[in-house]
Symmetry: C2
Amino acid sequence: MASNMITSSHCSFLILLFLLLSASFTATSAQWVWPKPRTLSWPSQLATILSPHFTISSPYHHHLSPAVNRYRLQILTEFHRPLVPPRVNLSNSSPPLQTLTIAVKDLAAPLQHSVDESYTLVIPTASSTANLTAETVWGAMRGLETFSQLVWGSKPPLLVPVGLHVWDSPLFEHRGILLDTSRNYYPVDDILRTIKAMSANKLNVFHWHITDSHSFPLMLPSEPDLAAKGSYGSEMLYSPADVATIVRFGLEHGVRVLPEIDSPAHTGSWAVAYPDIVTCANMFWWPAESEWADRLASEPGTGQLNPLNPNTYQVLKNVIGDAVALFPEPFYHAGGDEIIPGCWKADPAIQSFLSENGTLSQLLEKFVNSTFPYIVSLNRTVVYWEDILLDANVKVDPSFLPPEHTILQTWNNGPNNTKLIVSSGYRAIVSSSEFYYLDCGHGGFVGNDSQYDPPPTSGGGGNGGSWCGPFKTWQTIYNYDIAYGLTPAETKLVLGGEVALWSEQADPTVLDVRIWPRASAMAETLWSGNRDESGKKRYAEAMDRLHEWRHRMVKKGIRAEPLQPLWCVKNPGMCNTVHPST
Amino acid sequence: MASNMITSSHCSFLILLFLLLSASFTATSAQWVWPKPRTLSWPSQLATILSPHFTISSPYHHHLSPAVNRYRLQILTEFHRPLVPPRVNLSNSSPPLQTLTIAVKDLAAPLQHSVDESYTLVIPTASSTANLTAETVWGAMRGLETFSQLVWGSKPPLLVPVGLHVWDSPLFEHRGILLDTSRNYYPVDDILRTIKAMSANKLNVFHWHITDSHSFPLMLPSEPDLAAKGSYGSEMLYSPADVATIVRFGLEHGVRVLPEIDSPAHTGSWAVAYPDIVTCANMFWWPAESEWADRLASEPGTGQLNPLNPNTYQVLKNVIGDAVALFPEPFYHAGGDEIIPGCWKADPAIQSFLSENGTLSQLLEKFVNSTFPYIVSLNRTVVYWEDILLDANVKVDPSFLPPEHTILQTWNNGPNNTKLIVSSGYRAIVSSSEFYYLDCGHGGFVGNDSQYDPPPTSGGGGNGGSWCGPFKTWQTIYNYDIAYGLTPAETKLVLGGEVALWSEQADPTVLDVRIWPRASAMAETLWSGNRDESGKKRYAEAMDRLHEWRHRMVKKGIRAEPLQPLWCVKNPGMCNTVHPST
C-alpha cells in the first residue's frame, strides 16, 4: 500500500497513512468538491502525500498573486477532516506533490460579466508537479479553489488525489448573492466574510443593495448629507475607504461587486437630507381605512423620488457619478422596483400633472429618460428590476430601454416572467422570490397584526407568515431550473441567477445561517447543473456532498445551517427515502 | 431636572443625564421588561442614579448567593443602551440607589415544580434602598432579573426607575425548552448559555432529550458502553462531571434540568452496545416498495427496545438508576413516543407472541409495568409523551399509569389532545408541534426525495418542506393559548408548556437563532399572558418590547433572530398594519 518513493524518515507518516486509508467507506475525496466540476476523472482512486514544502508557481498578477498566497496557506493549514473518510489507496509511483504550476493565457482580462472562468487541473500519477491552466486569472482562482478542496488530512501528512483530470467551466456566467444593507446594517467584516464564502462556492457577483427607504449607509463624496443624515448612525456607515476595501477584496476572490442604488421608489431615507425631492416621505405607509391599492409604499417606510422636481436629477447625477467612481464594475443596478401610485399621488405638482391627463407611466419615463442615458454615458450597462417593464400600473415603454444597454432582474411569477423578459429580447438575471429569496417564511415584520388573534385551531401563519413564505429550502433552490420553458436562443439571454437576502428580518446575527448552505445549492445548479450524466436530478448524491461541504464551511468559520443528523453521513444511504439498493 | 442630592462633583454626570433624558420618546424603561410582570406600577416616570458602589444585600444561600454576585456584576457592567431612549425625569428627592435588599421567607424550599416564584420589588422615591421580597430563593432570582432589566445607561451614571412597585408571579409553573442532543451534539458551553438565556426570560425547565436512535451521548457509570459505543465519538459525550456542572448551573439560575431517556422506541443507538435488546436495529427505516404503515421507524434511524427480552430491563434499570442519581429533579421523562409496529414485528420472539393472539399494546404494557413502578420507587414523577395513552396502534390502558405519578406531554393535534389528557384527569405539559416546535419549516432532512423533481411552476415545499412546517413564527408562539377550550378545573391540570428544538436540522451553528427570541414569546405567554388588562392581545406593544429585548439579548451574547428593520423601533408605530392614532 505504501509508496516506494517514501523514504524511511517518513515511517510515522506511513502509520498515519495506514490509519487514514484502512477505513473502507463509499465516498471519495473527489466526490465532495462543491460545486461539482463539469468533468472530473479520477479512475485510479489513488492519492499521494502533499509535501509539507508544497508551493504554488504562478505568473505575477496583482489580484491573482494574493489569491495564490492565500490558497497556499489555507491548503497547508486547513487540516480538513472529512466526516466520511475517503477510500483511497496510496499510489506506488507517485512522489509527494511539491508544486502546483499555474499557467494563464490572458493575464489582462478584467473581472467582468462573461469573462472566461474555465480551467483545467491535472494531477499526474508519477510527477511531483500538478498543472492548472486557465484562460484568465479568474479561471485560475476557480481552479485553485477546486484544488484546495481536494486536499485533506486532519494532521500531516496531507493527502491529495493523483491521476486526476478536471475540466471545468460554468453553465451560467452570473452567479450572485444580493445583500440588503439598508433595512439593517452589516459591518464590513460581515461583507468580506460573505465574499470569501462566495468565492469558495465559485459564486462571482456580490449584488449590494446598498440603500433603501430605511437607511442610506453609503457615504458619497458629492452628497455626504445623504448618509450623514439618512444612515442609522455614524457607526453604521460605509465610507469610500470601506467600499475600496470591499471591491479589492472581491477582486482578489474573483467576486464582482455590483452596486444598487434603488430609485425612484425605496428612497425614503433620502428625505432626511433632501425633503423636497421625495414624495410622501415620513407618512404612514397604509392609511387607516384605505384599500391596499391606496397604500403609499410596498411596506412600512415611505418615499419616492419626485420625477417632476429638477433637484431630483441634480442629486441623482451626483449619486450615480460617485457610485460609478467607487465601483469599477461595468454593471450598475438602478433599481426601478415597486413604484407605488399612492406615493406620487400625494404630491401637489404630480397631482396637477395627472389632472392634465398625464400618466404615472409618463412620470416614470421622464425619470428614466433623465437618468438612464447618463448611466450609459458612464460606460455602464444598466440593471433594473423587472417592474420597470412589467409592472401593472407604472412602467416604461421598451423603447426607453435599448436591450444592448439594459438587463432586467426578475423576481415575480417564477419562470413566467423570465420568459416574458427574454422573449422580448432583454437579458435576464433570475431572482425568483418563489425560489431564491432567502429571507422568506420567518413571519411578518409588520406589527399590530390581528391575523394571529383567532383561537388556536391550527398552527397559524399558513406558509410561515411572510408574503413570500414558505422558507425556501436548499432542495427548492437546488432544483430550480432558471431556464425552464425557454428556447435555446432565449436561454442564452439568461445571464444567471442571484439568491437574495432582504434584511427586514435579517442582520448580522443570522447572516451566515440564512445564506449558507442555500446559496451553495444555487451555486452548483448554476455552475454545473442539478442533474447527473443521465439527466436525472442528483437528489441523494447532492445531499451527501452538501452535508460534507457544509461541514467544511463551518470549519472555515461560516455558520452554515445543518442539513441532517450527523448519523446520516456516517450511515450513507440510510437517511434516504428509498433504499439505494432498489 | 437635576436632583438636589447630587453634589457638585457629579457635574459630568449631570451633563450626561441631560443628554440621556432630553430626548422625547414614547417608550419608558419599565415597558421593556420581558416577560412583562403581572403588575408594574410606576406612575411618576421618575428615575435616579444607580450608585457606582451599588450592592445587593441578601441572606446567604448556596444557590442564591452566586446569583446575587452575578447580577450585581451584570448590573454594573452591562451598560445597556436601549434602541429607544426612555423618556424619564430625574427625581428631585431621590438619592443615588445604593442597595437592593433581598428578603426570603423560606430559604429551604427546593427548586421543583410548583415552588413559589412570586416576588415583590419596591424602589421607593426618597430612599437609597430598594426592597425585593420573595417566598423562596427562586422567586428572589426572578425579582433580580426584573431589577437588572430596569437598569440602563450606555456609560456611567446608570439610571434606574424610582417610585416603582412590582408584584409578580407566573401564570404557569412549568415553562421550558426541550433540546435534543442526540440527532446532533451540543457542547456543554452551548447548554450553559441556553440555560443562562432561559433564566433571563424567567423560563425554569431545561428538558434535556439526551438520547435517541442517532447517538447516546450520556456517559453512565453503570452502563458505560452505551455512550462509549453509541455516541458520535469521545469528543461528543456528556460525562457525569458535565452533568453535575449543568445541574449546578441550572440551580444557580433557577432552571430545573429535566432528563429524558427516551424508550422503548428511539433507541437505535443502544444497539451498538447491546444488539440483543434492540429490535430492527440498523435496518433501512422504510423498506422499498412498502407502505408507510409498514415502515420500521418514524424517521431514519431504527431500533426499539425489546419488551420480551429480560436483558432489556436489566440495562434499563441501570440506566434509570444512574440518571436518577445524576439528576436531582423530581420529574423523570421516560419518553414513550412513536412506537412503530413494524420494528417490533421484525423480531422473531415478538412474532411468536403476536401469533399467539398477543397484541402490540400488551407488549407496551409489559414494558411500562417493568419500568414505571421502578421509576416511581425512586421518588420520581414520570413524564411520558402523550402517545403512550393516545397512540392509535400501540398504547397502554390508563390503569397502568396512575395520574398521581404520571404527567403527559402533548405534541399532536393542538388544543384537542391537551383537552383529551386533562379531561382524563392527567396533568399535561403542552408542546404542540403546530405551535411550539422550533425546528419546523426548514426543509426535509431525508435524502433522495423526488418531490422536488417536478418543473418549477411554484415554489415547492408548500409549507417549508418538513412534516411540521411551516416555521413557527414568534407571533404564532406568542398567541397560542395553551389552555384553550378547557374548563377552569381542566386548566389547573395544565402545568405549562415547552418549546422544542429537535435536532435533525439543528446543531450549535443555529442553536441560538432557532430558540431566540421565539422561546421568549412563549416565556411571556406562560408568565403573564398575551393580553393586556382589557383582554386584548398585545400585538403592537409586544413586538416593540420584544424588539428591544431581542436587542438586549444579542448584546448579552445570545444570537437571537432579528424581528424588524431597526427603522421600525426608531419610528414607533410606523411599522404597524394600522396607524396607532386610529
